[in-house]
Each structure stands twice: as C-alpha cells, then as structure tokens.
C-alpha cells in the first residue's frame, strides 16, 4: 500500500497529466471535503475533550465522601458535625473529616431554593471526608461506626454522579465517533461519485487509454491520483480550519467548567495532521473501487 501511495503521489515532471486540468466543478468537491475534514477534526477533538472532562471531574470527586446528618435528628448541628468528624477520624482509611460550615451547606442549596428564606429550611449537617485512594473505607463501615456512636447519618460517595458522568461522556463520545464515521463514509461516497463522474466526463480519454493497451488498474490510477490529491489538499485546508476553530473555542471558552478540557493537546494536533492523509487514503480506496467497477462495465 505504501509503495502504491508513493507511486500515486510521486512527482514526475516529464509526465503530463493524463486528465485535463481540474475545472470549476472540482471546487464543489474540494469545498465539501474541506468542510468534512473540519467537522471530522472537531469531532475528534470534542470526543477527546469529553473523555478528558470525565477524567477531570472523576478525579476531583475520587477519594471524597460526604456524611449527611439529617436536620431533624440533631438539636445542635454544629456540635453534631464536630462529634461526627471526631468519630469518622477513627475509621481506618479516613485521612480527613471536615465539618462543612452551615453557610456553605446553604450555598449548595441556593441554586434550587434561592437565597431568600433559605435559613428557614431544615438544612442537613454535612461532614466532608477525604479518604485514602489506596485503601478507602467501605460505606458500610462508616455507617456502622457512626450508628454505634448514636449518629444516624447517610453516606454519599457520589456514585450516582460518577455513573451519570461516565454515561454522559460515553454518549458524547459515541455520538462524536458515529458522526466521525458518517463523515468519513460521506467523504468516501463523494470521492467515488466524483470518480464515476470523472470517468463519464473523460470517457474519450478512458477509451483511448484502453485502446493503447492500458489495463483497468492503470486507468483507475489516473482517477485515483486526481481525486486523492484533491481530497488531500482540501482536507488539509479543512483540518487547518478545525485547528483555528478549536484554538478559538479554547480561548473564548474562558472560565467555563468545560474549558480546561477544550485546551488543544499534542494528541489533538496529531489527529488533525493525520486527517488529510487519512481522508486521501479513503478517497484512494473508494475511487479505485468505483473506477474499477465502472471500467469493468465498459467494452
């Protein structure tokens, strides 16, 4: 395959092109391929960003637990929090137990209930735990220890949040990779269609080539070369646009929580650089299949 790509790509200045110079009709194909390449690049970057965001958020909540003491079960929330924190610190695997200040707990509820009158609500007492990632305590052990000390509490390890996060990230990546696949197939279909159209338009050249003894594979190669080069150039333009767009998004993303994940990584640049040759290869294969099929129908 590499030898074949080299043969198609190599520059032989003494060989005039077998086909006439590309005309304005090729602009349409070039534009479509550039758009496909740009979208493909953005899809890959977003898929990777979604994964990075999931990892980032997962790492933020890894090793963290919340112990929630319902408001109705204690008379003095501050004292209950301190007592619970002392008990929790005795559990192996707990590195730090910090009672959450009441105003901070209220602030967590403000987005749902508003600031006005929130102090009248029964706000639960929260103790934040930092656990040893290597040997974290089990939820059962924490609940049992607290219960043994007469503290009726709920323990939240954010498991539902982690699951939702992983599901969302997976959905985003599945969607982007599906779109990526659809775009690549569209590029293949466009190239094949262009090749068939080219063979039809340049039928007299195909006939002459056949009559002077060219095999179908040689004739097909003329169209492969034409469209693979065109797709490579257009895809390079599209990948460049995707690069500019992703840099712009990362900059104007500002302090958005998703912004850290949108930063352009070396891996993203490598993916963008690989798009033109990858799409050219797709064009090469689809053009060849289409051309050989069309040529086999000719006499």
């Amino acid at each position: 395959m590499i030898k074949r790509l080299w043969h198609i790509w190599r520059h032989r200045p003494h060989d005039p092109p077998m086909l006439p110079r590309p005309d304005v009709r090729h602009l349409g194909l070039g534009f479509a391929i550039a758009v496909i390449a740009a979208l493909t690049g953005l899809m890959l970057i977003f898929a990777d960003a979604a994964k990075r965001a999931e990892v980032h958020w997962q790492s933020q909540i890894a090793g963290s637990l919340s112990v929630i003491i319902p408001a109705g079960s204690v008379t003095d929330p501050a004292e209950a929090a301190t007592t619970a924190a002392d008990v929790l610190m005795t559990i192996p695997g707990v590195l730090m137990a910090t009672p959450m200040p009441q105003d901070q707990a209220e602030a967590l509820l403000q987005p749902w209930f508003g600031a006005k009158g929130i102090e009248t609500l029964p706000i639960p007492t929260v103790v934040e735990l930092e656990t040893d990632p290597g040997a974290p305590p089990t939820l059962e052990a924490i609940t049992r220890t607290l219960k043994d000390k007469g503290i009726d509490a709920l323990v939240d390890d954010y498991g539902h949040f982690k699951t939702t996060l992983a599901r969302m990230s997976g959905a985003i990546r599945t969607l982007t990779y599906s779109a990526f696949l659809a775009l690549v197939l569209t590029a293949a279909a466009l190239s094949a269609f262009a090749a068939l159209s080219g063979i039809s338009t340049h039928r007299h050249i195909v006939d002459v080539m056949h009559l002077v003894g060219a095999r179908d594979s040689v004739v097909a190669q003329v169209f492969e070369r034409r469209y693979a080069k065109l797709v490579f150039k257009a895809a390079a333009l599209g990948a460049g646009l995707a690069l500019v767009a992703s840099i712009t998004i990362a900059i104007i993303g500002g302090h958005d929580p998703f912004a850290p994940s949108l930063r352009l990584t070396f891996g993203d640049v490598v993916r963008l650089v690989l798009i033109p040759p990858a799409l050219a290869l797709v064009a090469l294969v689809s053009t060849r299949i289409a051309a050989l099929h069309a040529l086999s129908k000719l006499s």
Binding site: L19, H204, G213
Partner: protein
C-alpha cells in the same frame, strides 16, 4: 520497426471462424464471418456505410466481442480472453480512427508517446524515437503543437504515429484518408504500405473500391453483414470470389 516480435509469432495474426456480432440485444450486424489474417498481410476492407466495417474492425482491435463463433488473435482465444489479457493484446495492435481520437490537452509528442508511457517507460527512453517518428510523418516541427491547432492531415498523421509508435504487429485503420485531401491521402497510404513492408499486418477500411488495387492489398468487401473475399479489378469493381465466399482465405 523491430521484427523481433513478429519473428516469435509464426501463428496467423487473426483467425475468425463463423463469427457473428451484435450490439446488446439488437439485431445481428455481422453474420458468419470467416477469415484468416496471415502475419504481414495487407487487407483493404470496403463496403457501404452501415454494412459492418467498423464492427469488424472493432472486433479486430478488441473493442467489441463476437457474440458467437470462434476467434483468435495472435493465437489467443478471444472468446475466453479476460480483460487484462485483452489489454495486453491491445499493445500489439495499433488503431487509427477516422476521427483521430487524439487528446486535446496533450501535445503531438505527448499523444504519440502515450502507448509507451502507459507501458511504464520513462520519457528519456523513448523521446528520441518519438521525435524521429514525428519527423518521419512530416511533423518534426509540430511536436509541441496541440491537436486543436493542427490541420486534419496533421492530426491524422499524429494518430498514425501514435498507432505505430509501440511497433504493433497489427495495424487497424478505419477510413484513415476519409478526412484529408487526395494528395495527403496518397501520402498516408504510402506510409501504410511502407509499414506493411516492414512486416506489420494491415487491415484498412475505406470507401474507395480502388484502393486495394492501388496498394496491392487483398480486398475484402462487406455487404449486409457478410464478408466477401474479393479479387480487385482495375476499374475498382468488387468481384466476389465464389471460392472464398464465407470461407477462410
């Protein structure tokens, strides 16, 4: 022109036996065609328009497959030949069309060198030969001209040069003098005669019934899809040879 290829091909150039031809599901345009084309022979094919001359030539240069009968070219069975095999055989055939079929975006030099280029040869290996051939057909100073800037006669000579540049064993020409003036027509026919003397097998289709006699070729006449092997007469009239009618010559 090298004779190496011909020396190793003692078999007849072509043998057609009870061959018929049709286009798609249409009517049969050629019926029970029989002939044997010896290597180095010279045939002139005449007949009215629509009689089947072009179809017969197409079968000879492998652009049309017989629908029945047996046909071989250079000893290879055309009925069983695969596409790649056909392409390889075409390299041993030079074809001259009435409408030239030159590629307008290529110069005369590039058009003539096309068969060699498609064989994978590099320009340095054939450039001198192509220039020499163009000079031989009187177009040495027009090598870099594009077909649209050439006259009909010049284009025809470029087409002839392209047909013979790869030293084919069989040259098939369809009305090669049909669109040039009589003087140029004579000149081109002399060129074909020279090629035949060099060993090439020639089949030329023409409307001119006197041509076979002029060039000393065997005359074929095609009428209503039937091929007749004629004996040319000085007045150009086709006299059907009853001993060859429908049989191998």
């Amino acid at each position: 022109m090298s004779s190496n290829n011909r020396a190793q091909a003692p078999v007849p150039t072509a043998i057609f036996s009870h061959v018929s031809a049709r286009y798609g599901r249409g009517p049969t345009v050629l019926h029970d065609i029989n002939f044997r084309l010896e290597a180095g022979s010279y045939h002139v094919l005449t007949g009215p328009s629509g009689a089947g001359k072009s179809t017969l030539l197409k079968m000879l240069y492998l652009a049309h497959k017989p629908c029945s009968g047996g046909a071989s070219l250079f000893g290879q069975d055309l009925m069983r030949l695969r596409r790649n095999g056909r392409a390889d055989l075409r390299r041993r055939i030079g074809v001259v069309f009435q409408d030239y079929r030159l590629l307008d975006h290529l110069t005369a030099f590039e058009n003539v060198s096309l068969p060699l280029r498609l064989q994978g040869l590099v320009k340095s290996s054939y450039a001198e030969d192509v220039v020499e051939l163009l000079t031989w057909v009187g177009l040495g100073d027009r090598a870099n001209a594009y077909p649209p800037t050439l006259s009909g006669g010049e284009r025809q000579r470029v087409a002839i040069a392209r047909a013979i540049v790869a030293k084919p064993q069989l040259i098939v020409a369809d009305e090669p003098t049909g669109s040039v003036d009589p003087e140029m027509g004579q000149r081109l026919m002399r060129l074909f005669t020279e090629l035949n003397k060099l060993g090439a097998t020639l089949v030329i289709a023409t409307h001119d019934p006197t041509m076979a006699l002029q060039v000393g070729a065997q005359a074929w006449h095609i009428q209503d899809g039937q091929l007749h092997h004629n004996t040319p007469t000085p007045d150009g009239g086709p006299v059907i040879d009853p001993y060859h009618h429908g049989g191998a010559s």
